[in-house]
């Protein structure tokens, strides 16, 4: 019996340990005194020596080298602080580490999908107190960047580098035509540039309108018509915003012109988005929607680097010419998780990586992503060729938008994308009813999540 009691006690202890893991009160930002502003003066030296752990998602040699260089700029400024980095980290690893009480001091994520949950649950610390303490003016960031890094007034992340989306066009395939500025022009040009064989199979596509094609997500295409995802109360605006219907009807008309089956056959035969067989590299598509990072991929591909191509903002709805020049943006976010051992030091590192102009320019030049601050975008050292400059302008455009953070961000995108596949294949008879169904799915889940 003594053994049974011991075993029971052991189990209870184990259960309690498991239940309370990660619940110890860690030091938090803002609770500590301000140690420094910036620079290498006495204030910087006021922070005690420490070793920070930084987790990020960069994985290739070029990316990690560039990131290490940016971090080296920080350790030069704060020689008493050592930073160890861990590459290739995914969001769920960050979440698990925070929950397990083994959070890194600083964590970065490639997507903005989890920002709302991280902010809402307190998994990442609210940076507002230290931002105010340090007098950082966030208006140096475009509104869209500010939007995707905070949730319901809690700024728990900062934008590290941004992605902006525009139109790439193959000059040889354009046959002397200029890139389209409106959806009508895009339709017209697509029909003109598409080449088919005798059986009607597509050999070269002017533009692939399928929502299933690589970067053609509703988030990326929505800004062409100024479409909104959410109402002010967080419920879905997809069914009630006429802009989505305008986009969908335009898209379906073009899909039908190709013939859904022909377009699907063509799409499924295309190469890997991230490999050398990318259809834009191989001259199979004249115009594609893509991010600014495609410039670097083209430059680094032994065959594609010879490609004569141009970039332009995405064409916009004919009745909203003021949108031309804008687009979609999102990007890498970085913050201080709950339970960080050295939150004050961590904030200094976050601050350096996200607001230090030299650091941002270094990173941007190496990774060919858009730097987020106005000063970095205007810096003379920023490599700015015409094709890349297009995306800097898109990023800075006042009407450029993002996918606003939402506690069900992934599910909401899934719900809409699932519907769009049905739509483009012609399985939806009533568009209004279909979009109302998307709204319902999103709103029901929002209610369940307590939103």
């Amino acid at each position: 019996m003594r053994f049974v009691s011991l075993a029971a006690a052991g189990l209870l202890a184990l259960s309690l340990t498991a239940c309370t893991a990660g619940k110890e009160a860690p030091p938090s930002l803002g609770a500590q005194p301000k140690a420094t502003t910036s620079g290498t003066g006495p204030a910087a030296a006021a922070l005690p020596a420490a070793t920070l752990e930084l987790w990020h998602g960069f994985s290739t040699d070029v990316e990690t080298k560039a990131f290490e260089e940016a971090v080296a700029g920080f350790t030069k400024k704060f020689p008493q602080i050592k930073v160890t980095t861990k590459k290739g980290i995914q969001d769920d690893q960050i979440t698990q580490a925070i929950r397990g009480g083994k959070a890194p001091d600083v964590a970065a994520s490639f997507t903005t999908d989890n920002v709302a949950q991280w902010c809402k649950s307190g998994a990442f610390q609210d940076l507002t107190p230290v931002i105010e303490q340090d007098g950082i003016d966030l208006t140096v960031l475009p509104a869209a960047s500010r939007a995707y890094t905070e949730f319901e007034g809690k700024r728990c992340t900062m934008p590290l580098l941004a992605d902006a989306y525009g139109l790439y066009y193959n000059k040889a395939l354009m046959k002397g035509e200029q890139p389209p500025k409106t959806l009508s022009e895009l339709t017209e040009l697509t029909k003109k540039l598409t080449v088919r064989d005798a059986d009607g199979n597509i050999e070269v596509a002017g533009f692939v309108p399928s929502f299933q094609y690589y970067e053609n997500s509703p988030s990326h295409l929505g800004p062409m018509v100024g479409a909104r995802w959410y109402n002010d109360d967080g419920t879905s605006a997809i069914g009630s915003d006429p802009a989505w219907k305008q986009l969908l009807r335009w898209q379906k008309e073009l899909v039908d012109w190709y013939g859904y089956d022909k377009l699907e056959k063509f799409r499924k035969g295309l190469g890997d988005e991230w490999g050398a067989e990318h259809p834009f590299f191989r001259g199979k598509i004249a115009m594609v929607l893509d991010g600014e990072w495609r410039n670097a991929m083209i430059a680094n591909d032994p065959v594609a680097k010879e490609l004569d191509y141009g970039t332009a903002p995405l064409p916009v709805a004919d009745d909203q010419p003021e949108l031309y020049g804008s687009g979609f943006t999102a990007g890498t976010v970085i913050g201080v998780p709950r339970g960080a051992e050295h939150p004050r030091h961590a904030w200094e590192l976050v601050k350096h990586l996200t607001t230090d102009t030299e650091s941002l320019v270094t990173l941007s030049n190496a990774l060919r992503n858009v730097p987020t601050t106005q000063a970095a975008m205007e810096h003379p050292d920023l490599a700015r060729d015409d094709n890349f400059a297009t995306f800097l302008d898109i990023f800075a455009h006042p009407k450029t938008s993002t996918l606003p953070p939402n506690v069900n961000s992934v599910l909401n995108q899934d719900a809409f994308s699932t519907f769009l596949i049905q739509w483009e294949k012609g399985a939806v008879e009533d568009l209004d009813a279909g979009l109302a169904g998307v709204d319902k799915r999103i709103n029901d889940k929002l209610k369940l999540a307590g939103g």
Binding site: S15, T111, Q117, S217, K268, V410, L448
Partner: protein
Amino acid sequence: MMVSPRVAPAPRRWRGEGGRALLWLSPWIVGVAVFFVYPLLSTVYFSFHRYDLFTLEFIGLDNYRYAFSDARVLQSALNTLWLVVFMVPAQVLFALGVAQLLTKLKSGGGLLRTIFYLPSLVPMVAGTVAFVYLLNPATGPVNQLLARFGITGPDWFGSAAWAKPSLTLLALWGAGNAIMIFLAALLDVPKHLYEAAAIDGAGAWRQFRSVTLPVISPVLMFSAVTGVIYAVQYFTQAMIASRVASGATDSAGTTFTPGYPDGSLLTLPQHLFHTGFRDWSMGLASVHALLLFVVAMLFTLVLLRQFSRAEVVS
């Protein structure tokens, strides 16, 4: 004078033996308690809560109501059921058939055993990616080969109708372990039983039905039960095939919708995973987990009952 009845020392001995038994069983008891009972009770507990891994709030039956009205739950459950009903029997029959053939070979058996077993050594993800490339409707060698014979190949992983049969092909290709188990069982069937049956005039089919099947029935049951449990938990191949065939990635403003094409490869464990680890709805994911547990238990119980009945009859 009253003689008090003699008290047998048995209970004391029992206590000593019981204690020792418990001691020897303790690793198992601790294992079951920590890795089964505790997680199961936690899952039930969380299923009544809104739980995002950080905050916990009691919401009664809301997660259950949502789960049972969610079309994706029904779709994923039906997909899982399809795998149980079609893929498992196909795999068992294929493995048994191949093993039976291997026992009949006079020469080259070793080479063929190696050939059939090798695919099961290929890592699951690599094998699935290779299959998706082989079956690519436009550039894959399978459809190109079919085209040479004037046959238009299907869309395989790109078609909702063909996606699960394509996964079944993948399962058959990787059935090496089951083949080896059946082969061992078939080789264990006593030869004299076949000789006796032959003397009684039994043909090949009759010998298989009346001699082979009864003798290997425990192995068949093992194969069917583990196959069903495996199918109910089917995750990696469906997820990888779906992701590779869709060409979708997770980057800024894009997200992979599991189950491509048209949700046909969305299995219940995938839906559970996405609900818990992508949507942060651990309470709802707990409901999915309980549903999965109940389904797996039901299938296993039905199979066990069927096999016991078959054993009694034989």
